[in-house]
């Protein structure tokens, strides 16, 4: 096969483009390296991958990873990904965006794509702050965090994206930390391979704007789940893990139970042939008007 990784280079470094515009020390670097390593481990050639993003620092990822990319609008990373999956189910579709993009501006798409269950891996760079607009609160900012806008500290309690995803019916829910790169890579691979919508909420420091949840803050609290500590099909246990946040923050795959995907259930996609490649012959559909005689 000319389009497999036998002919096309798929080493981790082959996915990395030379330039980035992130701040030195940003968690995005580690996330990018983990992603490239995951794609290489899965032997996915670049032209078979589509990376969709919105707007924000995390959402610049399609410019720094050499795969197909659709860098759309703020909050709108998921809908184009769903459309692209429908058009070409041979594409591995990954959505990568920040907490503001995924949980704030894109909240409605987040909720409803969990229901829709397209075969998409959703990697959220959750640094609990707005970076690109320079330091306002995000939906996941902790109460009390002071910013230029939240001058007396954040008043609203933070959104718990993992608990929300579980309650909304997500089949794959995981939490990761950019400081645990190997763990992140493995989790990304599992999410990409999961048939259906897979959410990975990736905790990462923002070295410029989040002085509260720093690298050291996370490092002290984050703890990968031990082998056999948790059963991934236990929804209630998953919800407990999702809600565990404080002195100890567990990371790992909290829930993994597939259910029928959007693509499997779409009448037009069951046949297998890609929508994008189906031949168009208007004359063959002339009988459509017959019911109106």
């Amino acid at each position: 096969m000319s389009d497999s990784c036998n002919n096309i280079k798929c080493r981790a470094e082959d996915y990395l483009l030379p330039e980035t515009a992130w701040c030195p020390g940003c968690g995005n670097f580690a996330i990018r390296e983990a992603l490239a390593a995951a794609l290489a481990a899965l032997q996915l050639p670049p032209h078979r991958i589509l990376l969709c993003s919105g707007i924000g620092q995390a959402a610049k990822m399609p410019h720094y990873i050499r795969v197909n990319g659709f860098n759309g609008l703020h909050g709108r990373a998921l809908p184009p990904a769903v459309g692209a999956r429908a058009a070409n189910t041979e594409l591995t579709v990954i959505v990568e965006s920040g907490d503001g993009d995924s949980y704030g501006e894109g909240g409605n798409h987040f909720i409803h794509n969990i229901r829709r269950n397209p075969n998409i891996a959703h990697f959220v760079h959750n640094n609990q702050v707005y970076g690109l607009t320079k330091g306002q609160a995000s939906p996941t900012s902790e109460q009390g965090m002071k910013t230029g806008v939240q001058v007396e500290g954040v008043v609203h309690p933070p959104l718990n994206p993992l608990a929300l995803a579980l309650v909304a019916g997500a089949g794959f829910v995981a939490r990761c930390f950019s400081g645990e790169k190997g763990h992140l890579q493995e989790t990304m691979q599992a999410a990409i391979q999961f048939p259906g919508y897979a959410l990975v909420d990736i905790l990462q420091p923002c070295v410029v704007f989040n002085k509260l949840n720093t690298f050291a803050w996370y490092k002290k609290r984050v703890r990968p789940l031990r082998a056999n500590e948790h059963v991934e099909t236990d929804w209630h246990a998953a919800l407990r893990l999702a809600r565990t946040w404080g002195e100890e923050i567990p990371i790992g795959i909290f829930y993994r139970v597939p259910r029928p995907t959007f693509e499997e259930q779409s009448p037009a996609l069951r046949g297998g042939e890609q929508l994008a490649l189906r031949s168009l012959d208007p004359l063959s559909l002339a009988e459509l008007q017959d019911e109106f005689y």
Binding site: S2, D3, N7, I8, A21, P45, P46, H47, R48, L50, C52, I55, P62, H63, R66, V67, N68, G69, F70, N71, G72, L73, R76, L78, P79, P80, A81, V82, G83, A84, R85, A86, A87, N88, E90, L91, N108, H109, H112, R116, S266, P267, A268, L269, G271, E273, L275, A276, L277, R278, L280, D281, P282, L283, L285, A286, L288, Q289, F292, Y293
Partner: protein, 577 residues
């Protein structure tokens, strides 16, 4: 010579069913049929009516006087009796209400009682159709066949009961009036050509499917929803993904993702939903992703009149969306043209890699008419994609070209090559840039599509005395319109000419880029020029002024949420002539 029938009642009483059955039957009998809906934004109660008009040639607008009123409730009679001709008839249920003593035109038919006798109260509609048939002097055979087709696959008894209901209505009305409404001449004059009977949303649905649309995402919004309903019904048969989105923002963004990955894609909405979509419209402009958006207009602002009609969103279609990018705006003028026009929208979108807005409205969407079958061989399905032989490598999605159109490859199409689309300003590869020169170059590249796009626009249709106007003898009446007012305007021109006036219509289907050649030549020749629009501010007239500096002598504007009748147009024209 034509016949007009008004069928009115409360929402949920089934006026639609009666009107559609009769419309289809008349079409099969060889008449030109027009059927419009006037309905309220509610599921039960209120007052709704259907206006059915038939003649030798298929009418393009409703009439003003009715030969028959079917009053399913008393309110219908009260609201519409002024429209009933002196020689007309009103079918009503005497067990439901009584007509005033002086009313001589009544045809009492016990709709509900006869329906119950036949099998159930739902069949009151079928009883009414029977009564209508006898008034018009038809036999019941055509209707019996239609009923059998309608209920095919259900319990055989349903068909039998409906046919019994049809006969009982027919017989009861026959005692009062048999063949008492004179019929117009047939359309077909015996040549036997079969016509279709369908509405605007259905025509757009068929055209989209046959033209290769394979992805449709939308959020239900009157009056556009019928398109989604039609497509959903055919998703198995035609292999189209029809997805009801969580909101219009998702709808347009999903469609853009599908288009980017290679499926011909469309979305449809009305003004409020379009307001949510303009962010995505701008994204289509920036990413140069082909997309067709059907904007089925209804009166605004805000929720406005959800089930009524207006041409109030032309400016919105022309200018909605942040930033400057090329787009095309086409409009639905009538069923005959819209089938091919929507296909043109898909072709332009793919050829120029731009968003194309297709303006419909409630009047077009909901009105059914008898039209000749469509020629599917005229539909275009060329995708204008890059091919292996000519592809320059490495592939650059936004490669600079003289005409501004870059070779378009799909993700996954060429092994080893990747496709990157970006909503930020970008370089040829699709990567974010901020440099001044590169920005200018990219913006100019996108706008460079405009000359060829403008050349692809059709000049407006000329109807009436036309050519004499152009040749310079001038002196006549020139009407100008766009979109769904075509039928009313054509009839207005016919009537003006029949009464000794010289009258011409220029009617625009393609609106932007504005094809201004013909109107620039003709407008100065006209003694009396009128721009006729279904809006309050004269948006097309303003567009013409902005584009050409030319003004109309008069503007005829209607903004009560109802479509024009030819009579209204003529009365206003004659006030000024």
């Amino acid at each position: 010579m034509d016949v007009n029938i008004l069928i009115g009642g409360a929402a949920g009483q089934g006026m639609d069913t009666i009107a559609h059955l009769l419309g289809k039957a008349l079409t099969r009998e060889g008449y030109g049929v027009f059927l419009s809906k006037d309905y309220m934004s509610r599921v039960r109660g209120g007052h709704n009516f259907a206006w059915l008009r038939f003649a030798g040639r298929t009418p393009g607008a409703a009439g003003e006087k009715a030969h028959i009123i079917v009053a399913l409730n008393e309110e219908t009679y009260r609201l519409h009796r002024e429209k009933l001709l002196d020689s007309g008839r009103v079918i009503f249920d005497p067990e439901l209400f009584a007509l005033p003593q002086q009313e001589q035109r009544g045809v009492p038919v016990r709709l509900r009682a006869l329906a119950r006798e036949a099998g159930g109260p739902l069949m009151a509609n079928t009883v009414a159709v029977g009564a209508l048939l006898v008034l018009l002097g038809f036999k019941t055979a055509v209707l019996e066949k239609l009923l059998a087709e309608t209920f095919a696959g259900k319990d055989d008894r349903v068909t039998a009961q409906n046919i019994a209901a049809l006969h009982s209505g027919y017989n009861e009305a026959a005692a009062f009036c048999h063949d008492c409404i004179a019929l117009p001449p047939w359309r077909s004059a015996g040549n036997g050509e079969r016509y279709l009977f369908l509405d605007g949303n259905q025509v757009l649905g068929i055209s989209a499917l046959a033209g290769g649309c394979r992805f449709f995402s939308a959020y239900p919004m009157t009056p556009s929803t019928g398109i989604m309903t039609y497509l959903a019904k055919n998703q198995h048969r035609c292999g189209i993904v029809v997805e009801q989105a969580e909101d219009e923002i998702a709808a347009i963004n999903m469609a853009l993702g599908a288009s980017f990955a290679g499926a011909r894609a469309m979305t449809a909405t009305s003004g409020g939903g379009y307001a949510l979509m303009v962010e995505g419209l701008s994204l289509a402009g920036m990413t140069e992703t082909p997309l067709v958006i059907v904007l089925a207009m209804r009166p605004g602002p805000a929720t406005g009149l959800p089930t009524r009609t207006e041409q109030g969103d032309l400016d919105f279609a022309l200018y909605g969306g942040h930033g400057e990018f090329p787009r095309a705006v086409l409009s639905a003028t009538n069923l005959e043209d819209a089938f091919y026009r929507l296909n043109k929208a898909f072709d332009l979108a793919d050829r120029f890699q731009i968003p194309v807005i297709f303006l419909s409205d409630q009047h077009f969407a909901d009105t059914a008419r008898a039209v000749p079958p469509y020629d599917f061989s005229r539909l275009r399905s060329e995708r204008y994609l890059a091919d292996d032989a000519t592809l320059l490598r490495p592939y650059l999605r936004y490669r600079l070209t003289p005409g501004g159109v870059s070779p378009r490859a799909l993700p996954g199409q060429f092994p080893g090559e990747v496709v990157l689309a970006d909503s930020d300003e970008h370089d040829e590869a699709g990567h974010i840039i901020e440099e001044a020169a590169a920005r200018r170059q990219m913006l100019e590249k996108r706008l460079a599509k405009l000359p060829a796009l403008a050349a692809a626009m059709d000049e407006p249709l000329i109807y009436g005395d036309g050519e004499n106007e152009v040749s310079g003898t001038g002196g006549g009446i020139l009407l100008v319109g766009w979109g769904s007012t075509l039928g009313a305007l054509q009839e207005a021109v016919d009537l003006l000419r029949a009464s000794g006036n010289r009258a011409t219509l220029l009617h625009f289907s393609d609106i932007w880029p504005l094809p201004a050649g013909r109107i620039t030549a003709m407008l100065p020749q006209a003694r009396h020029s009128f721009c006729v629009e279904n809006n309050a501010t004269g948006q097309f007239a303003a567009l013409l002024r902005r584009s050409t500096g030319m003004e109309f002598h008069h503007q005829i504007r209607k903004y009560d949420g109802r479509p024009f009748t030819p009579g209204e147009i003529i009365r206003e024209v004659l006030d000024h002539v």
